[in-house]
Amino acid sequence: MVQPKTVALLNLSKEAAIVSLAYIGAFFATFEILMPAQNLLFPDFASRASLLFLPHGVRVLAAWLLGWRSVLTLLPGVVLVFVYVAGWGAFAPSRLAAIAVAVLVPAACFTLLRLLGRDLRPAADRAPCWLCLIGVGLVISILTSVLTNYAFGSAPKDYIAYLIGDFFGLFFLMLILMFVFRFLRHARS
């Protein structure tokens, strides 16, 4: 007979695999497809930040669905992405701080909102509110941008670029998922 703790661990591992793969997939879609397009459209924009950062959408949706479990499920994906970009430099203090911000801030914001009396977690007695999620996503963007760029010692334009990228990344990820689900519905019917 399988122990409950083993089942729980297996479920967590499965969630971590799904969420981290989604994060990595969103990262590559952003930097291999969207960034080249951004550089073509805005050649004078000197920041390395993406203006449509899809992984932020994965962070927000994971935190909404999983709560604090999202910290554990996002961590492998976020670390792998940092290692891909920076190699061993991913373990420098500033980057470790950025990793912590990326995985902790989304769940912390949903918890803070709940403590302030606005619980957005999925529940049977309330319909989900996508606009509310976008609003929380904006707050998460602001906090993440400020904390991450402070850790990196970035220029002011990077703060704005991160904020824009995170916000539009969440919105467009949800839009893409909405059309994917619609397509799947049409394909099945």
Binding site: K14, G67, T111, R185, R188
Partner: protein, 108 residues
């Protein structure tokens, strides 16, 4: 804090919740053809389906008892139920007594 790490939602429910969220987005953008009550009945039926995917059918009394439909009157509920059937979102269960419905994917 440790309890916050416990998995309170089964896998299929997480997908259902994501689908409901995106359905909400569709409706706001005018891409959905459901009224608020119809949408809430569909959510309630989907929740039951997610919790009980072995049988797949949901009884009208179970729907009426759902928290989302607590303030919906009987006439409004049955009007919306009929509308959902005509739009293809729900189908009355044929191989059972009356009052059971199956969540469907509507053809367009």
């Amino acid at each position: 804090m440790i309890r916050d790490f416990e998995n309170r939602m089964p896998e299929i429910s997480k997908l259902t919740e994501l689908r409901k969220l995106l359905l909400n987005m569709e409706q706001s953008m005018g891409l959905q053809d459901l009224s608020t009550v119809e949408r809430d009945i569909y959510y309630a039926a989907s929740d039951h389906r997610a919790d009980n995917h072995v049988t797949g059918a949901v009884k009208t009394t179970v729907l009426q008892d759902h928290a989302l439909l607590a303030n919906v009157s009987r006439p409004t509920f049955f009007r919306a139920l009929k509308s959902l059937q005509s739009k293809g979102y729900l189908e009355q269960c044929k191989n059972s007594v009356r009052g059971y419905y199956i969540v469907k994917i509507p053809a367009r």
